[in-house]
Each structure stands twice: as C-alpha cells, then as structure tokens.
Symmetry: C2
Subunit: 215 residues, 2 copies
DNA sequence: TAGATTGTTAATCGATTAACAATC
DNA sequence: TAGATTGTTAATCGATTAACAATC
C-alpha cells in the first residue's frame, strides 16, 4: 500500500511550470526533448526526465516527448481535465484584480462567486458577477459545491473566513492574507504572501549575514 | 571560505513567516518559546530552533526567546533595517492592486514608481503617484537607484521588461506574469503565479494518480 | 548502423526531525 | 534544587544530479 499518489511534492509543484512552457510552445512543434524543456523552464534535464517519469513513460528514446501528448498527460495528472469552481472572499483591490484576471478561466478555473462583508459593495456588479454578502456563502455553498476558496480579506478576518469555508465543505484554500491559517489537515492551504516575497529578495540583496564580511 | 551567507535557503524562506507571527503577537508578551512559535507558524519546534540558531544564540535556556529582540534579529538578517525602493511595471488590474496595497509600506518597502506602455494610462495619478511611460524607466533608474522591480505586465512582454530592468541595474525581480524569465544569474527572481497555485490545489483535490484507485 | 535521447540507478546533497546534554 | 527550554548532534528522510544502459 502506497500513499494516495506516488508523485513527490516537489514534482507536483513543478508540473504547472512545465505545462506553462508547453502551452507557450509553437503549435507546429511536434516533439520536445528533456534538454529543450529544461532550457525553457530554467531547469535541469535530469530533473525534467525524473519528474516526467512519474507520469508514465510517454517519451520516446532517441526522439523526445510528443508535446501535445505530454501537455495532456500533465493536465490529466493535475486534475485539469475538468473545471473547478472558485469563489473569492474579500473584494478589495486584490480580490477585484483576481476577479477580473483572465488567466484563470482558460486554465481550468471558473470564478463562480464573489463575497464581501461590506454592505456598500454587496449588490455591485463585477465582471458580470454580483457581489454577495458573506452571510450568503453557507447556503450558496450547499447548492453549488465550491471547490476552491480564495481569501483576499484583511489579515484580521482571514481565520474566520477560513473556518467558515471549512464549515461550508471547501477543502482547498488559496490565502493571500498575511496570516497563518489553522485548519483541519483534510484541508489544503496554499499561502501567497506578497510582502514575504519582497523580504526574501531583500535578504539576498543585503548579501547575507554580517559575519560574511570578514571573508 | 564559505558561501556569502551560511543561512540555508529553506530557512531564509521561513524567516518572514516567523517575523509575521512575532509582529502579530501581543506587545505585552516578553518571551516566546520555540514550541509556541512553532504552533503560531504551523511549524515544528525543532525546525524553529534550528532556523533561529542560524541567527546567533539569542534564546535563553529554560526561558525562551525575547520576542522583541528576536523580531529585530530576523529583520536585521533579512535586510529590513533599511527601506527598499520598489517600482511596478504594468498598471493593469494586478499592478493597480499592488500599488494601492498597504501591506508593503509598513514592512520595509516603498513604491517609488509606476510604469506602463499604454499611453492612455500614462499621466494618470494612482495613490499619489503618477504613472510614467516605460520609456522613462531607464533615465529614472539612473537617478533613483531602484532596488526591486515588480512585473505585472501581460506574459508576452514580461521578458522584454525583465531585460530592460536588468539593463537599468535592477538586481531583484518579483514576477507575476506567467512567463519564465531568462536573466543573468546575478539577478534574483521570485515568481508568483496565481494559476499555478490553483493547479497545485487541483492536483490534491483530484486525489493523485488514477493508478491509486486500485489500492 | 550511428546518433540521439529516454528511463532509471546510484551517489550526493541538503533539509527535517528526534533526542539530549547544557544551562537558565 | 526541580522544571523548562535552548542549541546542537546524529539519524533519517527526501530531493537533486550525474551517469549510463536501453532503445528509438
């Protein structure tokens, strides 16, 4: 008995990157080698082959991978052969930007609901959808079966929103609020923190530890 | 001779998280143990101690860490005792959201410029700053000394923008465009791809490989 | 056949974790 | 002193990479 998926975490997190490179490829290109895909994705050819080997053996020795087939296999592995319903909670600057962002729809995600606690926003139309009050979430969720909740609220209320989502049966959360979320471990959380990214860059710009000066 | 910083990559990427937890702490709280910090940051106490040991020995056996001192040491290590100047290229939905996002300023980052290629946007005022044309970037950069460039353009032009930034002397890039950037390895790139995050969640929702069904 | 490239093995490297002596 | 908690060691685990036999 092995774990529900034999694919290592690190590989899963790289598959979308390969997919993105394959989709950007000229449609005329029939095959691609691990070396070429490595170059496109800023990766190492051995790593590419090892990652792809987890999908099955879709490469042809001496030739490479069928680009179209590989694209499909990655999508299948990532569960992107179906469409997932996404809701956004918190229609501030970032939430609005995501609601209007075209990059989701053509990548397998459909934004089916926008929620906010601010009554002055409720009822407003945004990219064809009406903003609903957060209190409507529970009944909506029961009817619609939401796959992913995106949290773009202020940090102070992020935990409450996460708890509400979990109570509504949502098992995947993408959290943009700079707050740690405490959820059952049946729930998957991906955290994106914009300030964190800048802080990591800051570390490398400042050149590491002061001790390194006496090198 | 060791590398310019002895701190492992994985630790650097966790320091902002500890920092965020410490800043959310009650100001009355004088000390914090590795166990408590681990709970707050959804981490393991041994990992916390190991990470913090890279900063020096600021803990006290039997007592814990001085919360305020620890906060300062992490900020110092991350290079956050100074302020970094940030520019945003591409004032679309996401770029505008970031320009108006308060979370940067009080975390050590100052947005000093907004650029776009669209002449209808150039000259517009946004959160007190005037959007300038991308062609002005080169001379502005020479005068101002920009630390970090944030790319929020369409994917198609992201590489050109990155190249321009590098030519302007920018050595740290935060890229939101779903495109792989090819830059010299003196330049640090952090990539944030919103669709990628959803795709990773999709993988775990769909339960891994089909082969797993016959378990 | 000769050249190219995969799939996989085995070595290496780095990160995580448990355990515990040191010490407040 | 007794209890608590760090800092660090050593074991473990997982990820990366080079190398090459298999094979198109």
């Amino acid at each position: 008995m092995k774990s529900s998926s034999g694919i290592p975490k690190a590989t899963v997190e790289r598959l979308p990157r390969y997919l993105r490179c394959l989709e950007a490829l000229s449609p005329l290109r029939a095959t691609i080698s691990s070396t070429d895909l490595a170059k496109l994705s800023n990766m190492n050819a051995a790593k590419v082959r090892k990652d792809l080997s987890h999908l099955g053996t879709y490469g042809v020795r001496g030739v490479g991978y069928d680009a179209e087939l590989l694209r499909f296999q990655i999508k299948r592995e990532l569960g992107l052969t179906r469409e997932w319903d996404v809701i956004i909670i918190g229609v501030g600057n970032l939430g609005s930007a995501l609601a209007n962002y075209g990059g989701f729809v053509n990548r397998g995600f459909s934004i089916v609901g926008l929620y906010d606690a601010d009554m002055t926003k409720v009822g407003m139309r945004m990219d064809g959808r009406i903003i609903r009050h957060i209190s409507a979430l529970e009944s909506d969720a029961g009817r619609d079966g939401i796959s992913i909740g995106v949290i773009t609220t202020p940090a102070e209320v992020a935990q409450d929103v996460a708890t509400l989502l979990v109570d509504c049966g949502v098992r995947s959360i993408l959290n943009f609020a700079p707050a740690e979320l405490d959820v059952p471990d049946t729930v998957h959380v991906r955290q994106v923190d914009l300030a964190t990214e800048l802080q990591i860059l800051s570390f490398y710009m400042s050149g590491g530890t002061p001790e390194a000066i006496d090198a």
